[in-house]
Each structure stands twice: as C-alpha cells, then as structure tokens.
Subunit: 164 residues, 2 copies
C-alpha cells in the first residue's frame, strides 16, 4: 500500500538521494545533473507551492512530486508538476498514483489546468502514462533537450484541463 | 535612428514606467499587473542573463527586452526573451528591431534556439510579427492566459532555431 502525503522536513534525507540519482542520469529532467543538494532542495522543496512524498508501509520513500504555478500573475491558474520515482520502485504504478493525486491537489488548490513544459521525447514510458491520464501533447520543441547520450532531442509540451 | 544597447543602472527610472504600463494593462504578459517596482526590476533586470534598451537619438527609451535561459541545465541552450515597447513608440518597428537584435545576441551568447512560452492568442499583432521574423507556433495552451477583459484565452508557444 502506497500513501501519498505532504513532504515533511524530516523526509529530506530520504528524498534527495532519489532526486540526485534522477537528475544525475540526465535523461528526464532539465535540472543540472551536477546540482548540489542545496540547489535540489531549492528547486524541489522551496520554490514549489507544495511537495509530496509517496511512502511504502515500512516508511520507505518511493517517489516524490511538487506542484507550483507554471507562470506568474495572469498565468498562475495553470500549474506545473514534476514527479520522480525511486529506481527500485519503478513499474509499481507510483508515478500514476502521484499524478492522479496531484490532479486532485491541483484542483483543491484552485488550479484550472496542468502543464508539463519539457517532456523529453525519448521518455516514451512517461509520455504514454501522461497520455493515459488525460494529458495531450499540445506542442513539440525541436531539439530543446540536451540528452547525455543522444544529443539534442525534441521535448513535448503536455497539457490537461482540470475544469469541466 | 534607434540604438539598442545593454541596460545600465541609470536607465531604470526610464524603463520601469514602460514596464509598469505594459504589465498593468495585463493583455500581453503574465506578470502580475500590480507588480511592485522591486518585483518588476527583479523579473526584468536581475533574473535575466542580460537586459537591453532601445533608445532614440535624444536619449528617450523606446523599448526594452531581456534574454535568459528558458530552462536550467539540459534545457539551457534554448533562450527566452521578453520585449516591451513604450506606448508612444508603437508602430515604429521597435519590437522588430529588438527581436532581430535579440537573435544576434542569443547566438553570441551561445543559445541554439529561442522560445516564447505564453504568447497571448489575442495579441495578433505580436503573433504576426514573430511569424514574420521566423518564429513558428509550435503549441497552443487552452485557456492558459487570464485576460482582464476577455477572460481565459489561449496562449501560444512559439519557437525559432538559431542554428543552421
């Protein structure tokens, strides 16, 4: 059973190794692969409006996500989320559970839509998942992501309305 | 004759009224219309990689633009620019001159492409100008901009490669 709850300060020592491994791999997020722990904390915890963790029954952290306005002022009704799943918890539906959770949280926080700004086109598993969860590919950015092995690859903009 | 040069600290008293009027109108930029002078300065001068001003022969400031990486790390080869023209200098080709200038500067700074994240769909004059200057509409974000008179309107993602 996976529980998703708000991030607490004491979670950080378990969260940052998961972020570090993901950013360092450099194939899914634009975050600088050599980001320091302080930079990761700022990007994932301090800047967002809220951060969450997905926990196993034994307290292990399986994944984490943040939610924040994607733009200031007149664009702040659209949110942006980022999701990371621990390497040893892949394939268990954690990303899907976090994404569903984030849509409920986004609505509760008053957001009207959710936008992913830079979905790496080679990350086909994520793209299929977001599509299954109702996100549409609304744009393609040619060569917008510098992949560590593949060089410049396209990135997708994905979007889902959260209102009827 | 219009000269475009780097922003200097002494320009601010002439720049911020132009930004204030533009943001307050709320029909082209997401920036909070009631942004304080300090917030505007942070967004336009401090956060970007560089800011420029377009000046008339008599020293009046006709427009201003910034340039910055649109994403961190593995997306930082794509830049983002924002352009503002003074109300009394509209229709004189200032936006066009600044945009051409920004493409040269972007290349000189090593950027490989330029992206506009939130072009308000009702701002047809700007859209036509960007298209004429080689920017393609690569995406449409449904209802992503809260227009002060028209309500939620679509926003466009526009993109131009700066390399051959």
């Amino acid at each position: 059973m996976t529980t998703i709850r708000r991030f607490e300060t004491f979670d950080w020592p378990l969260v940052w190794p998961i972020l570090h491994a993901t950013f360092e791999a450099g194939d899914t997020y634009a975050f600088e692969p050599q980001s320091s722990e302080a930079e990761m904390r700022r990007a994932w915890i301090e800047l967002p409006a809220a951060t969450y963790v997905a926990c196993a029954d034994d307290g292990r952290i399986l994944g984490t996500y943040y939610i924040k306005p994607n733009q200031p002022g007149l664009g702040s009704h659209v949110c942006n989320c980022g999701y990371v799943v621990a390497a040893d918890a892949q394939g268990q539906g954690i990303a899907s559970a976090m994404c569903e959770h984030s849509q409920r949280e986004a609505r509760a926080l008053g957001f009207r839509a959710m936008q992913f700004n830079l979905v790496v086109s080679t990350n086909t598993r994520a793209i299929r998942l977001w599509q299954r969860l109702g996100y549409a590919i609304v744009g393609t950015l040619p060569g917008a992501f510098r992949h560590p092995r593949l060089g410049y690859v396209d990135a997708l903009v994905m979007y889902k309305s959260l209102v009827d």
